[in-house]
Symmetry: C2
Subunit: 199 residues, 2 copies
């Protein structure tokens, strides 16, 4: 367990992987998935293409690693939303995303590209939409029973619309800096009719 001869290289591999993921996020955010190349990602790190491909043998393997960052970044969204409410739970992520501009941009571009049935990330996008919608619907139902929100709308349709609105709001923020927290508050307020208006 404490053999330094083994720990060294492992730590180094993890560090190298996370450098590559960061570079890939920036390149996909600037050029899209189709437009970004492994060569460019390697070049930005002064790495050889062979070294990069030792860590990520294909472009889609690297894309998957990049996409997984998002889920890893919000590990306790569901627990926090049950405790404090769905509206504050969502607004906390919108706020946190202010610090993750290029990751959000990469997400926005890849999502739009991946609507195409032949895109390598199409299955990932469909899975993500289904999972997120189900989670939101469940949290909306939970908050309605708890008396935190007073909408009488269908939780699934509301959850889907909140997710879609959020996507569009983030694209606008990336383009011209329009406050995404204020826009999400307005959307959540209108759709969910909180018993106490979101601050």
């Amino acid at each position: 367990m404490t053999d330094p001869g083994r720990r060294g290289p492992y730590a180094k591999t993890a560090e190298r992987r996370s450098e590559i993921i960061a570079s890939a996020t920036a390149v996909f955010a600037a050029y899209g998935y189709h437009g970004g190349s492994l060569r460019q990602i390697a070049k930005d790190l002064d790495l050889g293409l062979t070294t990069l491909m030792h860590h990520f043998p294909t472009k889609v393997a690297l894309l998957e690693a990049v996409l997984e960052q998002e889920d890893a970044a919000n590990p306790d969204f569901t627990g926090q939303s049950r405790r404090d409410g769905f509206v504050p739970g969502i607004l906390a992520i919108v706020e946190r995303n202010l610090e993750r501009r290029e990751l959000v941009r990469m997400f926005s571009i890849v999502s739009a590209e991946a609507t195409h049935p032949e895109h390598e990330a199409h299955a990932w996008l469909l899975r993500r939409y289904a999972e997120v919608t189900a989670t939101y619907a469940e949290l909306i139902s939970f908050d309605r029973v708890a008396g935190r929100i007073t909408t009488d709308g269908d939780p699934e349709r509301l959850g889907q619309l909140i997710m879609s609105g959020w996507e569009g709001i983030q694209i606008r923020w990336l383009a011209d800096g329009s406050d995404p927290v204020a826009a999400m508050r307005l959307l959540l307020d209108a759709l969910l009719v909180p018993a106490v208006r979101p601050e």
Copy 2:
């Protein structure tokens, strides 16, 4: 005016241009602006690259022609909205877009890409956001005075949010076929509180 020797080539040029624009829409919709190439667009039409570049000397010139289709497709949105209401005016375009899938996809991808300040279409995107938001705000104010909607929210913020929500709703539709007309109705109903609910 009726000299066939002159009319022939002009008509032919217009036809060729519109074929190139249609091919570019499909290629940008599949690969994004950065990922799509003039070579691919020409190849899909069995055209030489030189012939294509005779009509569109640069990639960005072709992108601009592609983007202009959108505005040309809805020439009387403002007039129609004043006459019949903003909500039916918007819903009519959402319905019409069901028939323009690849154009909408191209728009979604290029908008996400063009959030980047160095993208060739960044200035276009900012101009479009500002213009559309101003138009929506004006139509919302008009409908409120006319008693068609009962929201007391700020027209500019509402207009911006409707535009953003619409973008996200269309991306979802492109991905998994979720009904964009029903989603837009729900959004407009919650944000604008029509005196008569949108059918």
